[in-house]
Amino acid sequence: TVGFSQVGSESGWRTTFSESVKAEAEKRGIDLKFSDAQQKQENQIKAVRSFIAQGVDAIVIAPVVETGWRPVLMEARRARIPVVIVDRNVAVEDGRLYVTRIAPDFTDEGRKAANWLMGATDGDCDIVELQGTVGSSAAIGRMEGFNEVIGEHPEAKIIRSQTAEFTRAKGKEVMESILKAEGGGKQVCALWSHNDEMALGAIQAIKEAGLKPGEDILVVSVDAVDDMFPALAAGEVNATIEMSPHMGGPAFDVIESYLDGKRDFEKWMVMDGRIFTQENYQAEYEVRKSN
């Protein structure tokens, strides 16, 4: 029996993630206890406690936020239940509190996006940024990584930055206003969006303003969700950094070998995301279409 505490179902990406973990568990014959925290850390802590009370064999946590895990992880340790962290990080000094962490590196995603953009524009670009939810670790990490890189390019600057809360509808609404504020958007060189959903919304706004996304305004974002590939194919998106939702397999691998007695795991198994651009998206598009 494995308990899995998921953040919630706030996006399509998240749902795919949950489903893939469930499918993986079924494939391996694991009895999975799934718990949805509805984006609340307190619910997640409650769920982990109830897993401990149920006496599960292992716990997988996809944390809502990084902080605040020490007490409940200590409780799990006292009950000798191994914990694997997936997706976002947890900030505990004592590395023994969890077995390992299987997660992407948000900062690095931001860096990759910036590097690609700087490469494509020779470091000269007026950028519009669509931020994720204020305070979320993905938004903070991606912003940090991106800014770090463009800080080295004096000609590149972010001219407008606003949150669109990771959603498509807000992405469209915010982009629409920003374009108006920037005199129709002719001077904007690129859009940097913290996730694909916002980018997809923003693309529509760009089109409705009479500009061509991907040409008049370059579009770069993170996630590589399925809907991005048709947009890549249409040339409306220039680059997206993959963030694979299939973290169930590696997590169960770790748990199985832990229960077999293995102990020396790397503390952070980075899920390295590929970058899809106009040059290399086709192969992946075919794969996804066939699913």
Binding site: S9, Q38, Q54, G68
Partner: protein, 314 residues
């Protein structure tokens, strides 16, 4: 004493017992002292805010700002500890600020005759906005004092644990029952909820009572913020989103009328516990997808309220 006016209370506690029983029959390890005590440990902060909310609702108002106040308290504590403060003075600061915040909302509501729903909604935006301005990132809390307090508690049979937050919540509960039903202030709060105009004509100091009620609610929300910081060892501007709705739901499930004037603080405790059991039940089950979780919570909420209605009406 089986009195008719306590009927909603009996019904609520009975429903809680039934649900707990149902869980115990269905799942192994459910009907244990440990799970029961976890209900308190996990919901201590909710019990505390819901008690504050009970007073507000009894007085005929509503307080939507409590969730954000929890977050703001956590963030302030986090920042102060980072700056090298000892937790105790930090707590004092948070409690005082919280009380003031509530008093200001109460004063605006009373003196400008504005609607509590909207004033506290603005309060909710304000507190959450202020916490994200203070710190967007979640601030981890590391302090020996926190470890000590978090460790403090009593081991009960079966791996159950009576921790400091449970003790705080239960103390607040006892004090709140006394305040609501054995002091003049309590009578005034009920009176205000019954009919503000009549209460004024009967000599109830409306201004003072209204301000005090919101101050109390925010004070308890700040206290809940402290308890929450022990629960998560962090201060985060996005913490406790939507807790105000949980608290309102708990108060109402506990048999208090939203229109004010009727209900009991103890009912609120059962309201929180019922919601806690529902969650525990769902996570023991462990097969519900995200959406079924929401649907089932909604259904259970409906069943409770319908049964309550049915049983109390007769």
């Amino acid at each position: 004493m089986l009195h008719k006016k306590f009927l909603p209370l009996y019904v609520t506690s009975l429903l809680f017992a039934l649900l707990f029983l149902a869980g115990s029959i269905q799942f192994e390890n459910f009907g244990t002292l440990r799970v029961f005590m976890n209900l308190f440990t996990d919901n201590a902060f909710l019990i505390i805010v819901a008690i504050g909310m009970t007073f507000v609702i009894l007085s005929g108002g509503i307080d939507l700002s409590v969730g954000s106040t929890i977050a703001l308290s956590g963030v302030i504590i986090g920042v102060l500890l980072e700056a090298g403060w000892h937790p105790l003075p930090a707590f004092a600061v948070v409690l005082v600020l919280g009380t003031l915040f509530g008093a200001v909302m109460g004063a605006i509501i009373h003196y400008y005759q504005l609607q509590p729903f909207i004033v506290t909604l603005a309060g909710m935006f304000f507190a959450r906005g202020l916490s994200s301005v203070i710190s967007e990132e979640s601030i981890p809390i590391m302090h020996e004092f926190y470890d000590d307090v978090a460790m403090f508690g009593f081991e009960l049979p079966g791996g159950a644990w009576l921790g400091s937050s449970t003790i705080i919540a239960l103390t607040v509960l006892v004090l709140a029952v006394m305040l609501a039903n054995f002091t003049r202030f309590g009578g005034r709060v009920y009176g205000l909820g019954g009919d503000t105009h009549s209460a004024a004509l009967m000599g109830v100091p409306i201004a003072r009572t209204t301000i005090a009620v919101y101050a109390l609610s925010s004070f308890l929300a700040a206290l809940a913020g402290i308890v929450f910081s022990f629960y998560t060892f962090s201060g985060y501007s996005l913490a406790a989103v939507g807790v105000e709705l949980d608290a309102i739901a708990a108060v109402v499930i506990g048999g208090t009328l939203l229109t004010g004037g009727y209900g009991y603080v103890v009912g609120t405790l059962f309201g929180v516990l019922i919601m806690g059991v529902v969650q525990t039940y769902i996570s023991f089950d462990g097969t519900l997808s995200s959406w079924w979780t929401k649907i089932v919570i909604g259904l259970l909420l409906f069943i409770f309220i319908a049964m309550q209605r049915f049983l109390v009406r007769r």
